[in-house]
């Protein structure tokens, strides 16, 4: 009996690793991934970065311009996350197991959230480029749709997790639907909700760089411009500015999380 179990386990893991290696080989072939180049490019990239990729005096002149672009990107990220959180909260309340009105509404709202979540922000950017062109609104709506899908899922899980017993208790006392939502569900979930919104802002700033490269707006555009002009010193300054901004926001939201959760 015991021997069988170990033999089966060994066989299972053997099959698992064989499958893994097979998929790896197929992936390497179809993506035209050059394994040797993969290994040699890392030291090459590091030595290149040390000799070219640092800000110099000339690039510092561009700093005010870059900071302006960064401000725009951060504001777009914040605006997209906060407005999306309002819509997401509405959808989460209708889509949650405990507070949803009926099964049909639940299915519909969850379906819409799944749709928005599974189209990536970069795909949204390319779709919206047709109508909004190279304006801030393209990036804003792309981030808004992505945030909306993600936050709806996160909020739904938060509401399901936290409030089922308190909702039941209030229902038993005869409280109205809106009283339950506004007096119990939202207040108890508020710390979770804020924590997710802060997380979304961080994610949005990172995605905003990609969206900016694709749509020609904000900090992503600034990086792309200097990068394509082979002005690596200024491009590295953009990277440093982005990293500093993200780290500040991350530390700030970690502090807020420690206090409220």
């Amino acid at each position: 009996m015991q021997g069988d179990l170990f033999a089966k386990k060994r066989r299972d893991s053997l099959v698992f690793f064989a499958l893994l290696i097979a998929i790896t080989c197929v992936s390497i072939v179809i993506t035209k991934y050059d394994v040797e180049k993969g290994f040699t490019s890392i030291p090459k990239a590091i030595s290149w970065a040390f000799s070219n990729f640092y800000p110099n005096e000339k690039s510092l002149e561009k700093l005010p311009d870059i900071l302006l672009k960064l401000k725009e990107t951060v504001l777009i990220s914040v605006a997209a996350a906060s407005v999306a959180s309002l819509f997401a909260l509405l959808f989460a309340i209708f889509g949650s197991e405990t507070t949803g009105i009926n099964g049909f509404m639940r299915k519909i709202t969850r379906g819409i959230a799944t749709l928005f979540r599974n189209i990536d922000v970069s795909a949204w950017a390319m779709i919206l480029l047709f109508s909004f062109g190279q304006s801030a609104l393209t990036g804003y709506f792309a981030l808004f749709f992505g945030s909306f899908g993600f936050l709806t899922r996160a909020f739904t899980e938060a509401i399901d997790e936290i409030s089922s017993s308190s909702v039941e208790a209030l229902q038993a006392t005869g409280a109205s639907y809106f009283a339950i939502i506004f007096q119990s569900v939202i207040p108890t979930c508020l710390p979770q909700i804020i924590s997710w919104v802060l997380f979304m802002i961080e994610t949005n700033i990172r995605s905003a760089t990609l969206v900016g490269i694709l749509t020609g707006t904000g900090i992503g555009f600034a990086f792309n411009l200097y990068y394509k002009n082979l002005n690596y010193h200024t491009a590295s300054l953009v990277v440093i500015v982005v990293v500093v901004a993200i780290m500040i926001i991350e530390n700030l939201s970690n502090y807020i999380r420690r206090v409220i959760l």
Binding site: S27, K44, V78, N118, F130, S131, G133, I256
Partner: protein
């Protein structure tokens, strides 16, 4: 001192609500703690910066209503009249496979590297110095957006799948080290202590106690990352020329201006992403029930 100040508003508020027309009917219970102040401040700051953002955005003479109408129209065309012009159905499937391949390679490399570094980053399995060093590096790696890693590597390796995979691996490693090391740190202290007392060395502790007890976590985190990497690979195909369905989408939207083709590609991406999400949910449930 601080207590006095924080109590005043409550008593005032309570008195006001008592005076209002229905005494006894309304009971205002509000406690002003550091927690509520921080929550309210955060919400106010977010609201103000959102409004400020809307007033200062660079709209570039876009008429809002007109653009929204045209956006809705283009969404309608995308959803209901998708077609293929520049490649065939089979090629589209192949391109999605390429994107999946990029995501798979990235996740595999990321998971292998993160497994070892995650062990070294876990507080209970490593020294404080090494753990802090790795965690600091991870914070930096995660702060640089993936696309910037890819573009930086593409200078050395050239635009293509090598730069994309290595650049994306950086971010995956950062993400997975954080997830893995937290899973390792949750391990019961007594288990490690007991093994150490019986004379087991580091490798034995890792392979006999740590990995077997965390393996479900590791697999579900890795698959979650695979799901994310698929979405990232779409974006990298577009922004860094790594190929795959993302590149086709970039061409369709930025060069051919073919809405119908963008629509079909969106359907492809959506279908695969939903399949991955369902699979991830299944794997999670299966591992949990074990």
């Amino acid at each position: 001192m601080e207590m006095d100040e924080s109590f005043k508003p409550i008593s005032l508020e309570a008195r006001n609500s008592m005076k209002s027309s229905h005494p006894g009917k309304m009971i205002k219970v509000k406690t002003i703690t550091k927690e509520t102040i921080v929550i309210q401040l955060t919400m106010i700051i977010l609201a103000i910066s959102t409004l400020y953002g809307f007033f200062t955005f660079d709209y570039k003479d876009i008429v809002f209503i007109e653009s929204v109408v045209s956006a809705l129209q283009s969404v309608k065309i995308m959803l209901f009249e998708p077609h293929l012009q520049h490649f065939t159905f089979g090629e589209a499937i192949f391109q999605v496979m390429v994107t999946l391949g990029l995501a798979f390679l990235t996740t595999l490399f990321g998971a292998v590297i993160a497994l070892f570094l995650g062990l070294l980053a876990a507080r209970n399995l490593s020294t404080r110095f090494v753990s802090n060093l790795i965690k600091g590096c991870v914070a930096f790696i995660r702060a640089v957006p993936t696309v910037l890693w890819v573009l930086i590597f593409s200078v050395a390796a050239g635009l293509g799948s090598v730069a994309a995979v290595i650049g994306m691996t950086f971010h995956s490693v950062g993400y997975l080290i954080k997830a893995f090391s937290e899973a390792f740190e949750e391990l019961d202290k007594g288990v490690i202590e007991a093994l150490r007392a019986s004379g087991a060395n580091w490798w034995q502790i890792v392979f006999q106690a740590v990995l077997p007890s965390c393996v479900t976590y590791l697999i579900s985190w890795t698959f979650l990352r695979f799901e994310i990497n698929f979405a990232v690979a779409v974006g990298m195909g577009a922004a860094a020329g790594a190929g795959g369905i993302g590149y086709d989408m970039f061409m369709a939207s930025g060069f051919y201006f073919d809405l119908r083709e963008v629509g079909l590609i969106t359907y492809f991406i959506l279908a695969f992403a939903i399949v991955l999400e369902i699979l991830a949910g299944r794997i999670k449930r299966k591992l949990k029930s074990r």
